[in-house]
Protein backbone atom coordinates (compact mmCIF):
# COMPACT_ATOMS: atom_id res chain seq x y z
CA UNK A 1 0.00 0.00 0.00
CA UNK A 2 1.40 3.34 -1.04
CA UNK A 3 -1.22 5.59 0.52
CA UNK A 4 -0.16 6.21 4.16
CA UNK A 5 -3.82 6.65 5.22
CA UNK A 6 -4.76 3.10 4.17
CA UNK A 7 -1.49 1.75 5.50
CA UNK A 8 -2.10 3.15 9.01
CA UNK A 9 -5.74 2.04 8.86
CA UNK A 10 -4.61 -1.49 7.96
CA UNK A 11 -2.22 -1.63 10.91
CA UNK A 12 -5.00 -0.43 13.18
CA UNK A 13 -7.36 -3.11 11.83
CA UNK A 14 -4.85 -5.89 12.37
CA UNK A 15 -4.12 -4.64 15.89
CA UNK A 16 -7.84 -4.44 16.74
CA UNK A 17 -8.39 -7.90 15.26
CA UNK A 18 -5.77 -9.47 17.54
CA UNK A 19 -6.97 -7.57 20.62
CA UNK A 20 -10.60 -8.47 19.92
CA UNK A 21 -9.86 -12.18 19.49
CA UNK A 22 -7.64 -12.26 22.57
CA UNK A 23 -10.59 -10.82 24.53
CA UNK A 24 -13.09 -13.25 23.02
CA UNK A 25 -10.77 -16.20 23.65
CA UNK A 26 -10.29 -15.23 27.30
CA UNK A 27 -14.05 -14.81 27.78
CA UNK A 28 -14.76 -18.20 26.21
CA UNK A 29 -12.38 -20.04 28.51
CA UNK A 30 -13.33 -21.32 31.97
CA UNK A 31 -13.03 -18.96 34.93
CA UNK A 32 -9.67 -17.16 34.98
CA UNK A 33 -8.14 -13.93 36.27
CA UNK A 34 -8.02 -12.17 32.89
CA UNK A 35 -11.70 -13.00 32.35
CA UNK A 36 -12.62 -11.36 35.67
CA UNK A 37 -10.72 -8.22 34.65
CA UNK A 38 -12.51 -8.02 31.28
CA UNK A 39 -15.91 -8.60 32.91
CA UNK A 40 -15.35 -5.87 35.48
CA UNK A 41 -13.67 -3.33 33.18
CA UNK A 42 -15.61 -3.91 29.94
CA UNK A 43 -19.05 -5.31 30.77
CA UNK A 44 -20.49 -4.02 27.48
CA UNK A 45 -17.88 -5.88 25.44
CA UNK A 46 -18.83 -9.04 27.27
CA UNK A 47 -22.58 -8.40 26.86
CA UNK A 48 -22.38 -7.84 23.12
CA UNK A 49 -19.60 -10.18 21.99
CA UNK A 50 -18.79 -12.54 24.85
CA UNK A 51 -21.60 -15.04 24.34
CA UNK A 52 -21.24 -18.20 26.40
CA UNK A 53 -21.84 -21.44 24.51
CA UNK A 54 -22.97 -23.86 27.18
CA UNK A 55 -25.99 -25.75 25.96
CA UNK A 56 -26.51 -28.85 28.12
CA UNK A 57 -23.50 -28.15 30.33
CA UNK A 58 -24.65 -29.96 32.31
CA UNK A 59 -28.01 -31.28 31.07
CA UNK A 60 -30.66 -31.15 33.76
CA UNK A 61 -31.20 -34.41 35.59
CA UNK A 62 -34.74 -33.28 36.39
CA UNK A 63 -37.75 -31.60 34.82
CA UNK A 64 -39.03 -28.39 36.35
CA UNK A 65 -42.60 -28.09 37.54
CA UNK A 66 -44.32 -24.74 38.02
CA UNK A 67 -47.48 -24.75 40.12
CA UNK A 68 -49.95 -21.92 40.43
CA UNK A 69 -52.02 -22.47 43.57
CA UNK A 70 -55.05 -20.21 43.83
CA UNK A 71 -57.30 -19.95 46.84
CA UNK A 72 -60.26 -17.89 47.94
CA UNK A 73 -59.34 -15.19 50.46
CA UNK A 74 -62.52 -15.79 52.44
CA UNK A 75 -62.47 -19.60 52.11
CA UNK A 76 -58.81 -20.63 52.29
CA UNK A 77 -59.67 -24.34 52.20
CA UNK A 78 -60.88 -24.03 48.59
CA UNK A 79 -57.83 -24.19 46.30
CA UNK A 80 -57.10 -24.74 42.61
CA UNK A 81 -53.68 -26.12 41.67
CA UNK A 82 -52.43 -25.82 38.10
CA UNK A 83 -49.11 -27.17 36.83
CA UNK A 84 -48.02 -25.49 33.62
CA UNK A 85 -44.56 -26.61 32.46
CA UNK A 86 -45.40 -30.23 31.76
CA UNK A 87 -48.39 -29.12 29.74
CA UNK A 88 -46.28 -26.67 27.69
CA UNK A 89 -43.72 -29.41 26.97
CA UNK A 90 -46.42 -31.87 25.91
CA UNK A 91 -47.97 -29.33 23.55
CA UNK A 92 -44.53 -28.51 22.17
CA UNK A 93 -43.84 -32.20 21.55
CA UNK A 94 -47.26 -32.77 20.04
CA UNK A 95 -46.98 -29.93 17.51
CA UNK A 96 -43.31 -30.47 16.53
CA UNK A 97 -41.85 -29.33 14.17
CA UNK A 98 -44.51 -26.63 13.69
CA UNK A 99 -44.49 -25.60 17.32
CA UNK A 100 -43.14 -22.07 17.24
CA UNK A 101 -45.90 -20.60 19.44
CA UNK A 102 -45.40 -23.34 22.06
CA UNK A 103 -41.65 -22.87 21.70
CA UNK A 104 -42.00 -19.15 22.42
CA UNK A 105 -44.12 -19.73 25.54
CA UNK A 106 -41.74 -22.49 26.64
CA UNK A 107 -38.77 -20.11 26.35
CA UNK A 108 -40.49 -17.18 28.04
CA UNK A 109 -41.78 -19.19 31.01
CA UNK A 110 -38.81 -21.53 31.47
CA UNK A 111 -36.23 -18.73 31.26
CA UNK A 112 -37.97 -16.91 34.09
CA UNK A 113 -38.35 -20.10 36.15
CA UNK A 114 -34.64 -20.76 35.68
CA UNK A 115 -33.73 -17.20 36.62
CA UNK A 116 -35.86 -17.33 39.78
CA UNK A 117 -34.11 -20.55 40.78
CA UNK A 118 -30.67 -19.16 39.99
CA UNK A 119 -31.36 -16.02 42.02
CA UNK A 120 -32.77 -17.81 45.05
CA UNK A 121 -30.16 -20.56 45.12
CA UNK A 122 -27.21 -18.36 44.20
CA UNK A 123 -25.82 -18.60 47.74
CA UNK A 124 -26.43 -22.26 48.42
CA UNK A 125 -26.45 -25.66 46.73
CA UNK A 126 -29.90 -26.83 45.75
CA UNK A 127 -31.38 -29.67 47.83
CA UNK A 128 -31.24 -31.91 44.80
CA UNK A 129 -27.48 -31.48 44.61
CA UNK A 130 -26.37 -31.71 48.21
CA UNK A 131 -27.28 -31.90 51.84
CA UNK A 132 -28.72 -28.71 53.25
CA UNK A 133 -27.94 -27.42 56.68
CA UNK A 134 -31.02 -25.23 56.98
CA UNK A 135 -34.46 -26.61 56.27
CA UNK A 136 -35.11 -25.97 52.56
CA UNK A 137 -38.42 -24.15 52.95
CA UNK A 138 -36.88 -21.96 55.63
CA UNK A 139 -33.91 -21.24 53.36
CA UNK A 140 -36.29 -20.37 50.50
CA UNK A 141 -38.32 -17.93 52.61
CA UNK A 142 -35.13 -16.30 53.91
CA UNK A 143 -33.75 -16.03 50.37
CA UNK A 144 -37.00 -14.51 49.09
CA UNK A 145 -36.84 -11.95 51.91
CA UNK A 146 -33.24 -11.15 50.98
CA UNK A 147 -34.14 -10.56 47.32
CA UNK A 148 -37.37 -8.58 47.93
CA UNK A 149 -35.83 -5.38 46.60
CA UNK A 150 -33.81 -7.00 43.81
CA UNK A 151 -35.07 -5.51 40.52
CA UNK A 152 -34.27 -8.53 38.37
CA UNK A 153 -35.80 -10.98 40.83
CA UNK A 154 -38.98 -8.90 40.97
CA UNK A 155 -39.11 -8.82 37.16
CA UNK A 156 -38.89 -12.63 36.97
CA UNK A 157 -41.54 -13.09 39.64
CA UNK A 158 -43.90 -10.53 38.09
CA UNK A 159 -43.54 -12.34 34.76
CA UNK A 160 -44.63 -15.60 36.38
CA UNK A 161 -47.56 -13.82 38.08
CA UNK A 162 -48.61 -12.30 34.75
CA UNK A 163 -48.46 -15.71 33.16
CA UNK A 164 -50.54 -17.15 36.02
CA UNK A 165 -53.26 -14.58 35.25
CA UNK A 166 -53.26 -15.64 31.56
CA UNK A 167 -53.47 -19.35 32.46
CA UNK A 168 -56.28 -18.77 34.97
CA UNK A 169 -58.18 -16.72 32.39
CA UNK A 170 -57.80 -19.55 29.85
CA UNK A 171 -59.18 -21.99 32.43
CA UNK A 172 -61.97 -19.55 33.28
CA UNK A 173 -60.93 -19.24 36.91
CA UNK A 174 -61.97 -15.89 38.36
CA UNK A 175 -59.16 -14.03 40.18
CA UNK A 176 -61.25 -11.57 42.19
CA UNK A 177 -60.90 -12.06 45.95
CA UNK A 178 -58.34 -14.76 45.32
CA UNK A 179 -54.72 -15.12 46.29
CA UNK A 180 -51.86 -16.82 44.48
CA UNK A 181 -48.95 -18.97 45.55
CA UNK A 182 -46.20 -19.88 43.10
CA UNK A 183 -44.33 -23.14 43.64
CA UNK A 184 -41.41 -24.49 41.63
CA UNK A 185 -40.22 -28.06 42.05
CA UNK A 186 -37.72 -30.30 40.32
CA UNK A 187 -38.86 -33.76 39.32
CA UNK A 188 -35.92 -36.14 39.01
CA UNK A 189 -35.36 -37.96 35.73
CA UNK A 190 -34.87 -41.69 36.20
CA UNK A 191 -31.11 -42.11 36.88
CA UNK A 192 -28.95 -43.41 34.05
CA UNK A 193 -28.06 -46.64 35.87
CA UNK A 194 -31.75 -47.32 36.54
CA UNK A 195 -33.13 -46.34 33.16
CA UNK A 196 -35.08 -49.60 32.76
CA UNK A 197 -36.48 -49.64 36.29
CA UNK A 198 -40.09 -48.69 35.55
CA UNK A 199 -41.11 -49.14 39.19
CA UNK A 200 -38.90 -46.29 40.33
CA UNK A 201 -40.92 -43.27 41.45
CA UNK A 202 -39.48 -39.90 40.49
CA UNK A 203 -38.67 -37.74 43.48
CA UNK A 204 -40.00 -34.17 43.40
CA UNK A 205 -37.99 -31.57 45.33
CA UNK A 206 -39.24 -28.16 46.35
CA UNK A 207 -36.93 -25.38 45.16
CA UNK A 208 -39.08 -22.27 45.39
CA UNK A 209 -42.38 -21.18 46.92
CA UNK A 210 -43.96 -17.85 47.62
CA UNK A 211 -46.46 -17.20 50.36
CA UNK A 212 -50.08 -16.67 49.28
CA UNK A 213 -50.57 -13.13 48.06
CA UNK A 214 -53.70 -11.49 46.64
CA UNK A 215 -53.62 -10.76 42.89
CA UNK A 216 -52.43 -7.26 42.19
CA UNK A 217 -50.00 -7.18 45.11
Amino acid sequence: MKNPFYRILSYLCIGTFFLYWAGIFILAMPSNHAKKIIISRAPRFRNIFGTTWRLFTPPSTFNDRLYFIVRDITRPDKTDTIEVLENISLQKQHNAPFNQRENIIDHLVNNNVLNVKLTIWSNKKKPAEGLSETKDSLYISNAIAAFTYNKNYNAYLSTLKNYAIIVLKQRQIDTTDKELKIVITEKKTRPFNQMSNTNLLSKETLVFETPFKPFGQ
Binding site: T57, N63, I105
Partner: protein, 308 residues
Protein backbone atom coordinates in the same frame (compact mmCIF):
# COMPACT_ATOMS: atom_id res chain seq x y z
CA UNK B 1 12.63 -15.13 9.01
CA UNK B 2 9.63 -14.10 11.16
CA UNK B 3 9.66 -10.71 9.49
CA UNK B 4 9.47 -12.43 6.10
CA UNK B 5 6.57 -14.57 7.26
CA UNK B 6 4.69 -11.49 8.53
CA UNK B 7 5.33 -9.73 5.24
CA UNK B 8 4.10 -12.76 3.33
CA UNK B 9 0.81 -12.97 5.25
CA UNK B 10 0.39 -9.21 5.19
CA UNK B 11 0.69 -9.30 1.41
CA UNK B 12 -1.61 -12.32 1.08
CA UNK B 13 -4.37 -10.75 3.16
CA UNK B 14 -4.47 -7.76 0.81
CA UNK B 15 -4.06 -9.61 -2.44
CA UNK B 16 -7.54 -11.02 -2.90
CA UNK B 17 -10.91 -11.37 -1.18
CA UNK B 18 -10.59 -15.14 -0.72
CA UNK B 19 -14.16 -15.82 0.40
CA UNK B 20 -15.98 -13.29 -1.78
CA UNK B 21 -18.54 -15.77 -3.09
CA UNK B 22 -19.48 -17.40 0.19
CA UNK B 23 -19.52 -14.09 2.07
CA UNK B 24 -22.11 -12.87 -0.44
CA UNK B 25 -24.05 -16.11 -0.08
CA UNK B 26 -23.87 -15.83 3.72
CA UNK B 27 -25.22 -12.27 3.60
CA UNK B 28 -28.22 -13.44 1.58
CA UNK B 29 -28.68 -16.63 3.62
CA UNK B 30 -28.57 -14.81 6.97
CA UNK B 31 -31.06 -12.27 5.64
CA UNK B 32 -33.36 -15.12 4.53
CA UNK B 33 -32.98 -16.77 7.94
CA UNK B 34 -33.90 -13.52 9.72
CA UNK B 35 -36.93 -13.15 7.44
CA UNK B 36 -37.93 -16.74 8.17
CA UNK B 37 -37.70 -16.03 11.89
CA UNK B 38 -39.94 -12.98 11.48
CA UNK B 39 -42.45 -15.02 9.45
CA UNK B 40 -42.70 -17.93 11.90
CA UNK B 41 -42.94 -15.55 14.86
CA UNK B 42 -45.42 -13.27 13.12
CA UNK B 43 -48.47 -14.83 14.82
CA UNK B 44 -46.83 -14.30 18.22
CA UNK B 45 -45.41 -10.81 17.65
CA UNK B 46 -47.84 -9.19 20.09
CA UNK B 47 -46.96 -11.82 22.69
CA UNK B 48 -43.24 -11.18 22.19
CA UNK B 49 -43.16 -7.40 21.87
CA UNK B 50 -46.68 -6.00 22.21
CA UNK B 51 -49.38 -5.57 24.81
CA UNK B 52 -50.22 -9.31 25.02
CA UNK B 53 -46.73 -9.97 26.37
CA UNK B 54 -46.45 -11.12 29.96
CA UNK B 55 -42.69 -10.81 30.36
CA UNK B 56 -41.55 -7.97 32.62
CA UNK B 57 -38.36 -6.84 31.00
CA UNK B 58 -35.09 -6.47 32.81
CA UNK B 59 -33.38 -3.13 33.05
CA UNK B 60 -31.57 -2.31 29.79
CA UNK B 61 -31.05 0.61 27.42
CA UNK B 62 -34.68 0.47 26.22
CA UNK B 63 -35.82 1.40 29.75
CA UNK B 64 -33.59 4.43 29.58
CA UNK B 65 -35.19 5.77 26.39
CA UNK B 66 -36.49 9.27 27.08
CA UNK B 67 -39.98 8.58 25.73
CA UNK B 68 -41.23 5.75 27.88
CA UNK B 69 -38.96 2.73 27.31
CA UNK B 70 -40.81 -0.54 26.98
CA UNK B 71 -44.22 1.17 26.78
CA UNK B 72 -42.98 2.95 23.67
CA UNK B 73 -41.77 -0.38 22.26
CA UNK B 74 -45.11 -2.05 22.99
CA UNK B 75 -47.01 0.75 21.26
CA UNK B 76 -44.88 0.99 18.16
CA UNK B 77 -43.29 -2.45 17.74
CA UNK B 78 -45.02 -2.95 14.38
CA UNK B 79 -43.24 0.12 12.99
CA UNK B 80 -40.00 -1.29 14.30
CA UNK B 81 -40.70 -4.64 12.64
CA UNK B 82 -41.58 -2.93 9.34
CA UNK B 83 -38.25 -1.08 9.40
CA UNK B 84 -36.43 -4.27 10.36
CA UNK B 85 -37.97 -6.20 7.46
CA UNK B 86 -37.16 -3.38 5.01
CA UNK B 87 -33.53 -3.34 6.17
CA UNK B 88 -33.33 -7.14 5.82
CA UNK B 89 -34.47 -6.83 2.19
CA UNK B 90 -31.98 -4.04 1.54
CA UNK B 91 -29.20 -6.17 3.03
CA UNK B 92 -30.26 -9.14 0.94
CA UNK B 93 -30.05 -7.05 -2.23
CA UNK B 94 -26.74 -5.50 -1.13
CA UNK B 95 -28.25 -2.01 -1.31
CA UNK B 96 -26.61 0.47 1.02
CA UNK B 97 -23.80 -2.03 1.60
CA UNK B 98 -21.85 -1.39 4.83
CA UNK B 99 -24.35 1.17 6.11
CA UNK B 100 -27.25 -1.30 5.71
CA UNK B 101 -25.20 -4.07 7.34
CA UNK B 102 -24.45 -1.78 10.30
CA UNK B 103 -28.12 -0.75 10.56
CA UNK B 104 -29.25 -4.38 10.48
CA UNK B 105 -26.79 -5.28 13.25
CA UNK B 106 -28.07 -2.38 15.39
CA UNK B 107 -31.71 -3.38 14.78
CA UNK B 108 -30.93 -7.00 15.59
CA UNK B 109 -29.31 -5.94 18.91
CA UNK B 110 -32.35 -3.77 19.73
CA UNK B 111 -34.77 -6.58 18.83
CA UNK B 112 -32.95 -8.97 21.15
CA UNK B 113 -33.09 -6.41 23.96
CA UNK B 114 -36.83 -5.94 23.41
CA UNK B 115 -37.40 -9.45 24.73
CA UNK B 116 -34.23 -11.01 26.03
CA UNK B 117 -36.08 -14.05 27.42
CA UNK B 118 -36.52 -15.31 23.88
CA UNK B 119 -32.90 -15.07 22.70
CA UNK B 120 -31.18 -18.38 21.97
CA UNK B 121 -27.74 -19.43 20.76
CA UNK B 122 -28.80 -19.14 17.11
CA UNK B 123 -29.81 -15.51 17.61
CA UNK B 124 -26.53 -14.83 19.39
CA UNK B 125 -24.45 -16.34 16.56
CA UNK B 126 -26.57 -14.58 13.91
CA UNK B 127 -25.91 -11.25 15.67
CA UNK B 128 -22.16 -11.88 15.68
CA UNK B 129 -22.15 -12.90 12.01
CA UNK B 130 -24.04 -9.71 11.16
CA UNK B 131 -21.37 -7.78 13.06
CA UNK B 132 -18.52 -9.40 11.11
CA UNK B 133 -20.35 -8.91 7.81
CA UNK B 134 -20.29 -5.14 8.40
CA UNK B 135 -16.57 -5.30 7.63
CA UNK B 136 -16.73 -7.82 4.80
CA UNK B 137 -16.98 -6.98 1.15
CA UNK B 138 -19.82 -9.37 0.41
CA UNK B 139 -21.06 -7.35 -2.54
CA UNK B 140 -19.30 -9.01 -5.45
CA UNK B 141 -22.21 -11.40 -5.99
CA UNK B 142 -25.96 -11.37 -5.39
CA UNK B 143 -26.35 -7.59 -5.55
CA UNK B 144 -28.66 -5.32 -7.51
CA UNK B 145 -25.88 -2.95 -8.59
CA UNK B 146 -22.27 -3.99 -8.98
CA UNK B 147 -19.55 -1.93 -7.36
CA UNK B 148 -17.50 0.43 -9.52
CA UNK B 149 -13.74 0.03 -9.85
CA UNK B 150 -11.85 1.42 -6.91
CA UNK B 151 -8.30 2.59 -6.55
CA UNK B 152 -5.72 -0.05 -5.80
CA UNK B 153 -5.01 0.88 -2.18
CA UNK B 154 -8.69 1.02 -1.28
CA UNK B 155 -9.26 -2.37 -2.89
CA UNK B 156 -6.33 -3.87 -0.97
CA UNK B 157 -7.66 -2.44 2.28
CA UNK B 158 -11.12 -3.86 1.60
CA UNK B 159 -9.62 -7.25 0.82
CA UNK B 160 -7.79 -7.15 4.14
CA UNK B 161 -11.00 -6.29 6.01
CA UNK B 162 -13.00 -8.96 4.17
CA UNK B 163 -10.45 -11.66 4.86
CA UNK B 164 -10.32 -10.72 8.55
CA UNK B 165 -14.14 -10.76 8.70
CA UNK B 166 -14.33 -14.20 7.08
CA UNK B 167 -11.62 -15.45 9.43
CA UNK B 168 -13.56 -14.01 12.36
CA UNK B 169 -16.72 -15.93 11.45
CA UNK B 170 -14.69 -19.14 11.20
CA UNK B 171 -12.95 -18.43 14.51
CA UNK B 172 -16.29 -17.65 16.13
CA UNK B 173 -17.61 -21.06 15.16
CA UNK B 174 -14.44 -22.72 16.49
CA UNK B 175 -14.64 -20.78 19.76
CA UNK B 176 -18.32 -21.76 20.14
CA UNK B 177 -17.52 -25.46 19.73
CA UNK B 178 -14.33 -25.41 21.78
CA UNK B 179 -15.71 -23.49 24.77
CA UNK B 180 -18.80 -25.68 24.74
CA UNK B 181 -16.64 -28.84 24.62
CA UNK B 182 -14.36 -27.53 27.35
CA UNK B 183 -17.32 -26.71 29.62
CA UNK B 184 -18.72 -30.18 28.95
CA UNK B 185 -15.60 -32.14 29.91
CA UNK B 186 -15.63 -30.41 33.28
CA UNK B 187 -19.06 -31.83 34.04
CA UNK B 188 -19.08 -35.33 35.63
CA UNK B 189 -22.29 -36.22 33.80
CA UNK B 190 -20.53 -35.73 30.43
CA UNK B 191 -17.40 -37.38 31.73
CA UNK B 192 -19.37 -40.52 32.67
CA UNK B 193 -21.15 -40.73 29.32
CA UNK B 194 -24.63 -40.07 30.69
CA UNK B 195 -25.27 -36.57 29.38
CA UNK B 196 -27.12 -37.33 26.15
CA UNK B 197 -29.38 -39.70 28.08
CA UNK B 198 -30.46 -36.80 30.30
CA UNK B 199 -30.59 -34.28 27.45
CA UNK B 200 -32.82 -36.52 25.34
CA UNK B 201 -35.01 -37.23 28.38
CA UNK B 202 -35.72 -33.57 29.19
CA UNK B 203 -39.40 -32.96 28.51
CA UNK B 204 -38.69 -29.59 26.88
CA UNK B 205 -36.44 -31.21 24.29
CA UNK B 206 -38.16 -34.48 23.41
CA UNK B 207 -38.32 -33.91 19.67
CA UNK B 208 -39.68 -37.27 18.56
CA UNK B 209 -41.63 -40.16 20.12
CA UNK B 210 -38.50 -42.27 19.45
CA UNK B 211 -36.42 -40.39 22.03
CA UNK B 212 -37.58 -42.62 24.86
CA UNK B 213 -36.49 -45.74 22.95
CA UNK B 214 -33.21 -44.24 21.82
CA UNK B 215 -32.15 -43.31 25.36
CA UNK B 216 -32.69 -46.90 26.48
CA UNK B 217 -29.79 -48.02 24.25
CA UNK B 218 -26.74 -47.57 26.46
CA UNK B 219 -24.25 -47.95 23.62
CA UNK B 220 -26.03 -45.15 21.76
CA UNK B 221 -25.96 -42.93 24.85
CA UNK B 222 -22.22 -43.49 25.27
CA UNK B 223 -21.50 -43.09 21.54
CA UNK B 224 -23.46 -39.84 21.22
CA UNK B 225 -22.03 -38.49 24.48
CA UNK B 226 -18.36 -39.10 23.68
CA UNK B 227 -18.93 -38.39 19.99
CA UNK B 228 -20.23 -34.91 20.91
CA UNK B 229 -17.25 -34.27 23.18
CA UNK B 230 -14.76 -35.41 20.55
CA UNK B 231 -16.43 -33.41 17.80
CA UNK B 232 -16.64 -30.17 19.81
CA UNK B 233 -13.07 -30.39 21.04
CA UNK B 234 -11.44 -31.57 17.82
CA UNK B 235 -13.36 -29.55 15.21
CA UNK B 236 -11.63 -26.23 16.06
CA UNK B 237 -8.20 -27.87 15.87
CA UNK B 238 -8.56 -30.18 12.87
CA UNK B 239 -10.74 -28.06 10.58
CA UNK B 240 -7.64 -26.10 9.51
CA UNK B 241 -6.09 -29.29 8.09
CA UNK B 242 -7.19 -29.72 4.48
CA UNK B 243 -7.57 -33.51 4.58
CA UNK B 244 -9.77 -33.42 7.68
CA UNK B 245 -12.09 -30.68 6.46
CA UNK B 246 -14.69 -32.67 4.53
CA UNK B 247 -15.20 -35.46 7.09
CA UNK B 248 -15.47 -32.87 9.86
CA UNK B 249 -18.02 -30.80 7.96
CA UNK B 250 -20.08 -33.91 7.18
CA UNK B 251 -19.90 -34.94 10.85
CA UNK B 252 -20.93 -31.41 11.84
CA UNK B 253 -23.94 -31.45 9.55
CA UNK B 254 -25.01 -34.85 10.95
CA UNK B 255 -24.47 -33.58 14.50
CA UNK B 256 -26.68 -30.53 13.91
CA UNK B 257 -29.35 -32.50 12.02
CA UNK B 258 -29.61 -34.87 15.01
CA UNK B 259 -29.98 -31.96 17.44
CA UNK B 260 -32.56 -30.41 15.10
CA UNK B 261 -34.68 -33.55 14.95
CA UNK B 262 -34.27 -35.14 18.36
CA UNK B 263 -33.95 -32.05 20.56
CA UNK B 264 -36.30 -29.66 18.74
CA UNK B 265 -33.69 -26.88 18.61
CA UNK B 266 -34.36 -25.39 15.22
CA UNK B 267 -32.95 -21.96 14.27
CA UNK B 268 -29.75 -22.54 16.19
CA UNK B 269 -28.64 -25.46 14.00
CA UNK B 270 -29.27 -23.73 10.67
CA UNK B 271 -27.05 -20.78 11.60
CA UNK B 272 -24.17 -23.04 12.65
CA UNK B 273 -24.31 -25.09 9.46
CA UNK B 274 -24.52 -21.94 7.31
CA UNK B 275 -21.05 -20.88 8.42
CA UNK B 276 -19.51 -24.19 7.26
CA UNK B 277 -19.20 -23.00 3.66
CA UNK B 278 -16.47 -20.58 4.67
CA UNK B 279 -14.14 -23.50 5.30
CA UNK B 280 -14.39 -24.59 1.68
CA UNK B 281 -12.35 -22.97 -1.13
CA UNK B 282 -14.00 -20.04 -2.88
CA UNK B 283 -13.44 -21.64 -6.30
CA UNK B 284 -15.37 -24.77 -5.31
CA UNK B 285 -18.26 -22.75 -3.93
CA UNK B 286 -18.32 -20.61 -7.09
CA UNK B 287 -18.38 -23.71 -9.30
CA UNK B 288 -21.15 -25.19 -7.21
CA UNK B 289 -23.13 -21.95 -7.44
CA UNK B 290 -22.52 -21.85 -11.19
CA UNK B 291 -23.74 -25.44 -11.59
CA UNK B 292 -26.86 -24.75 -9.55
CA UNK B 293 -27.59 -21.62 -11.53
CA UNK B 294 -27.10 -23.35 -14.89
CA UNK B 295 -29.26 -26.26 -13.71
CA UNK B 296 -32.15 -24.05 -12.69
CA UNK B 297 -31.71 -21.81 -15.74
CA UNK B 298 -31.82 -24.86 -18.04
CA UNK B 299 -34.94 -26.17 -16.32
CA UNK B 300 -36.58 -22.80 -16.72
CA UNK B 301 -35.59 -21.89 -20.27
CA UNK B 302 -34.16 -25.05 -21.77
CA UNK B 303 -30.84 -23.26 -22.36
CA UNK B 304 -27.69 -23.86 -20.36
CA UNK B 305 -25.66 -20.77 -19.71
CA UNK B 306 -22.56 -19.58 -17.89
CA UNK B 307 -23.43 -16.70 -15.65
CA UNK B 308 -21.78 -14.24 -13.27
Amino acid sequence: MIQQQIKYYWHRLQLENYKCFYLAFLRVAISCWLLKEVCINWGSMDLLYGHSGFVVSKNNFINRLPTGGFLLVKNYYLWFMATYIAVIFLNMAGTGRWFTALLLFALQCALQKMNSSFVNGGDALAKLILFYLIFANSYQYFVLCKQKNRDNDKRKFQNLLSNLAALSIMLQLCIAYFSSGLAKIMEPVWWHGEATYYALSMERYIGTPFNKYIVQQRWLDYASNYGTLLFELLFPLLIWIKKMRKPLLVAGILFHVCIYIFLMIYGFEVIFVLTYGLFLPNRKMQDFGQKMKSYFWRNKTGVATGLY
